[in-house]
Subunit: 332 residues, 2 copies
């Protein structure tokens, strides 16, 4: 294993120290493992808290800032944070209007956030949970009952974050987050396996001419192992998998994300986006907004995920609202 | 070789089609291989044109937009664009105040941009060239007489771009670009070799426990081949190489970039940034601004480059000026 780390045990602490040094707009408690905005939550604003295993950067810590999250709790690599972290984050950012927890659907995260929600409630904080489960590849995967939560997490955090910023109530922000999740579908393909610092070797074997179709963001198995093919065919299958689950009619609009899993050149992501755009255009579906880049990663895994969110005027309006985070920034 | 491409011959054209689909703020001439802003250059504004081999994205096409470049010419992967592209770009964006060509110091780029400058002059366009040669690793490398141009290219494009936007003259913009280059130094380390689509195999052999110290952005050899070590030690050597070439005194300020070469997780880049910050802090040097992420890449190569630019009030003011490009955006 070759990685730019000091030791596998120190990866998260050292990375948090770097995040703290790089971003004065964030307050990073390296010991407690909680990232919040440097500025206190305004009284009356609903707060958004998310978190999950590290290794998916910029998710979640890179999405803390005005217009998006109020706090993030990073766990160990590919390991859920603990309820104490989540509770500390919720208490730190509650502005009296309650806290929305954005939770990717993995068993550990779900259980720990549930416990944190109960503990926060005991402390008098109103809590709503938005579960993200957008990955159409598999049901009941290695670490999940039901669908895995992947790329749509960014969409939920952005759009619900904008709603919170404009003054929506706890119930409204949570409802919007759920609506975004329900409107979103993702599908991913891996070209290489991921190597965690702790394991020191690839999490699975993938021959030199094969790809993992429907892979999860921890390298969980997908639907099939296939020979590498032209990008056009790989993308066609991924988009077909999404549309089989959520048909899009001619005239509809989407927010589309082509997301690198960590080890894929941006040049290739643009090739993939070009194919997605051609396929949707042929169906009369308009890509109203897009993101192309590394947003929800899996350490060094080469591959790509595609997320489509069926959008209406309100979702696009909230998408366009200003956001100022290390990982996503516009309008400011 | 596993890549998300249709065929090695179509990589650049397909990626340009994707860039065109993703960014309505750009005008992409896929056939002529010229990327310009969708909006015409204002009369009287100095225009900035850059370009180079593809495979370094978001450099250069991703830096076209208000506050940075007016046009970019992508060549084939790791291959200089041709003079005709550069000439077309210069003619397309000249607003009557002249064109600054930002050229990374590689023999092919230098010769082709020189020819383009002569052709543009014949067409009545005033041209100044800013040569970027910030990489302290080696003199006279594989493709270069003198030093290679790497990460500082972004600094030159950002700061000279801001100067052009505020109305500086051709001579002033070029002088600022040269000043930024003179104030900047870079050093890179590779953990894996890079595989170009055309070659289909890694450009060099790098054993499982070794790193290439002082590598170039095309995988050119560096200073030495060494065993992998903790990030702290690797970074200390890289920063020492930079400071040996350009000492920084206590009290000085820098803009620091920790740049992923394409295959390195953001988590690791933050670890590297934390080490850079500690080292500079111990010397009393203040990191006034920073970038951590993939900006000047080498396709799928794992590794990192560090660039430090000694900054003064004027450079920081121009750095902070609004920029609105796919690869860099703030203040808008």
């Amino acid at each position: 294993m070759k990685k730019l780390i000091n030791s596998p045990d120190d990866v998260v602490a050292d990375a948090l120290a770097g995040i703290a040094a790089a971003h004065p707009s964030l307050r990073v408690d390296v010991k407690a493992r909680v990232i919040t905005r440097a500025a206190q939550t305004k009284v009356g604003k609903v707060a958004l808290v998310s978190g999950g295993g590290s290794g998916h950067e910029p998710l979640h810590g890179g999405f803390v800032g005005p217009g998006m999250l109020d706090a993030a709790c990073p766990g160990e690599v590919f390991t859920s944070p603990v309820p104490g972290q989540m509770l500390a984050a919720a208490l730190a950012v509650d502005g009296g209007a309650g806290v929305v927890l954005v939770v990717k659907n993995y068993t550990g995260d779900v259980l720990n956030f549930q416990m944190a929600a109960e503990l926060a409630a005991e402390e008098g904080v109103s809590v709503e949970t938005v579960l993200v489960d957008d990955d159409v590849a598999v049901q009941d995967s290695t670490w999940t009952a039901g669908r895995r939560g992947t790329g749509a997490t960014l969409f939920v955090e952005k759009i619900a974050g904008a709603a919170a910023e404009r003054g929506d109530s706890l119930a409204e922000v949570a409802a919007l987050g759920r609506r975004v999740n329900a409107a979103s579908r993702s599908f991913a393909v891996a070209l290489t396996a991921v190597t965690t610092p702790a394991a020191g070797r690839p999490g699975f074997d993938l021959p030199d001419d094969e790809i993992e179709v429907g892979v999860g963001i921890h390298g969980e198995p997908g639907r099939s192992r296939e020979k590498i093919r032209p990008a056009r065919e790989i993308v066609a299958d991924a988009v077909a998998a999404i549309l089989a689950d959520q048909p899009l009619e001619s005239g509809e609009e989407v927010i589309a994300m082509v997301n690198g899993l960590g080890g894929t050149p941006l040049l290739e992501l643009y090739i993939v986006f070009g194919e997605v755009a051609s396929l949707l255009e042929a169906r009369g579906v308009r890509i109203a907004r897009n993101l192309v880049g590394d947003y929800v990663t899996s350490l060094d895994m080469a591959g790509v995920s595609i997320t489509l969110c069926r959008a209406d005027a309100e979702l696009l309006h909230l998408w366009d609202a200003p956001v100022n985070t290390p990982g996503l920034r516009w309008g400011v």
